[in-house]
């Protein structure tokens, strides 16, 4: 009997290899019958969403472990970027198929901690406060994503890519 987690991991790997793996192939890759796969995840979309939730959870854990509130804005941004790149690249399929986890969860688990960092920085004057925090979050997200893609395309190290995103945002949106 494969636990749900094991199936998910298998599925994530199978989907990473061939982004359009059929449910049949995913099941086979997980060493599980197709019926079982459907028992756990009623729909292909369900499966992807669940993988997304796993990714979100993992990212949330990393953010928690990053102690964002205890470090400078600059360091916090770098940590966030590193975490996002690491997790994002492991779940490339989600990015490619535009799967988003539950917005509420994403907001609470991922955006909230970063938002807190941003708010603090705005209070301290190190981040411009004439722009909506939500928009700033989006901008930073865009930078991190772009840096991540640039990383895989131009062979940049994770540290450098993360630092690039963080620095650019820091200068670009400073108070």
């Amino acid at each position: 009997m494969r636990a749900e987690g094991a199936i998910l991991e298998s599925a994530a790997r199978a989907l990473a290899e061939s982004e359009s793996a059929s449910m049949d192939e995913i099941a086979a890759a997980a060493g599980v019958g197709r019926a079982t796969l459907y028992r756990r995840f009623a729909t292909r979309d369900d499966l992807l969403r669940t993988i997304a939730e796993y990714a979100v959870a993992e990212m949330a854990t990393r953010l928690r472990e990053a102690k964002l509130d205890d470090v400078s804005l600059e360091e916090a941004l770098a940590r966030i970027a590193r975490a996002a790149m690491t997790v994002g690249e492991r779940y490339a399929i989600l990015v490619r198929e535009q799967v988003r986890g539950d917005p509420a969860t994403v907001d609470k688990q991922l955006r909230a901690p970063v938002r807190r960092v941003f708010r603090r920085a705005q209070r301290e004057g190190s981040l411009r406060d004439d722009a909506d925090v939500e928009v700033l979050l989006d901008l930073f997200g865009g930078l991190v994503g772009a840096a991540s893609r640039a990383r895989t395309e131009h062979g940049i190290g994770l540290e450098d890519a993360a630092s690039l995103a963080a620095t650019t945002f820091l200068r670009g949106a400073r108070g």
Copy 2:
């Protein structure tokens, strides 16, 4: 007889409305038989790719008309951002289905003009020259995309969103 262009436009619109329109529906929406659709575009993917090329061509035209070489870096960035947002939002389907035009074409038609702006700015010292121009292109692209998404989600005006992306990048990556 429907010209290929007319079919493409119809298809783009149909796909914009319901991102998963079947070839049947697309054909019907174009007032054309399914076979004809397949005669023009051997594959659903083909169709999407061709739409992508149209989008690329349109974007290229806008960039050409923007006279990027005749204006300041700041203004050039703003024009690029506005053009990208306008075109990108019209062809949302491409973004959503992760369709990319031919990389070579994209490079020649879209990246090249922006690259020239960036190069000039680097020579003039207004853009950091310690970072690969390609990476800077990616970063700016990420910012524009993020601003565009923020725009639709938070109801920001196109001017403001474009300006935000341009300004942030300008400050973030200045020389």
Copy 3:
């Protein structure tokens, strides 16, 4: 679940009604999805061939039950003719679309028993033995087919038609 036999029967009936029924219509008539129909019979031709095999099997059964070896040549011929007409008219589609069962099966199941009758008659001197048995089989087949067609066209009774074929052959090819 529809057994293959039930589907075949349905299909044979549907095809009998409208000789050019589409696979869609056949499936619908059988109360089965089109995919299922294709799962059983990879091809329209496959379906027809399988129906042919059913017809062959049914004819073989009738021949077996006719105890051809226990009756006079005349009676045997009449029984064969009656059986052939009955079965042939039930599977008119096969005749009309020129579908033949597997030649080996047909030879073994249908021609063989008749051939035995013919051989015996030749030994007994009641059937000319200066002609190839195979050719005689063909001739008799032609007569039966013609009588069957004449029957439906001129409203002759099955008994009379069968007797006509049998008698004509008997006299025509007697030893």
Copy 4:
């Protein structure tokens, strides 16, 4: 410009080679545009029927030339059989696709002359007159067809096959 006759001949040949030639292929084989083919023969069926009429006409000519009324029943039957086999084998496609010429024409051109032979024989007492002439015509037709098939399958000469059909019918249905 190809005359209708030339196209027909081409078509008959093309269909003889590959019994399921498409209209496209037939047109190409005739060195004619597909549109022209359709102008002459509104339908594939139309084409086949017209070929059938040609075959009927040819057969009619042969029957006329056979001077059936001037020879003995036996010789007449043999001549009919030879003519039918010759023409039938040249237009095998018609047989295979079950195409029939216009029944009225067939009756007038083909059945009538044979019917006259049969009627005369019945009057003379050499053919049983207790059976409908039409049915006898069918029976003889069946025999000829069967002999023709046996001929191609068992490599019998045309003369022998024709004689076999004629003799069998003669004895089988004599007065």
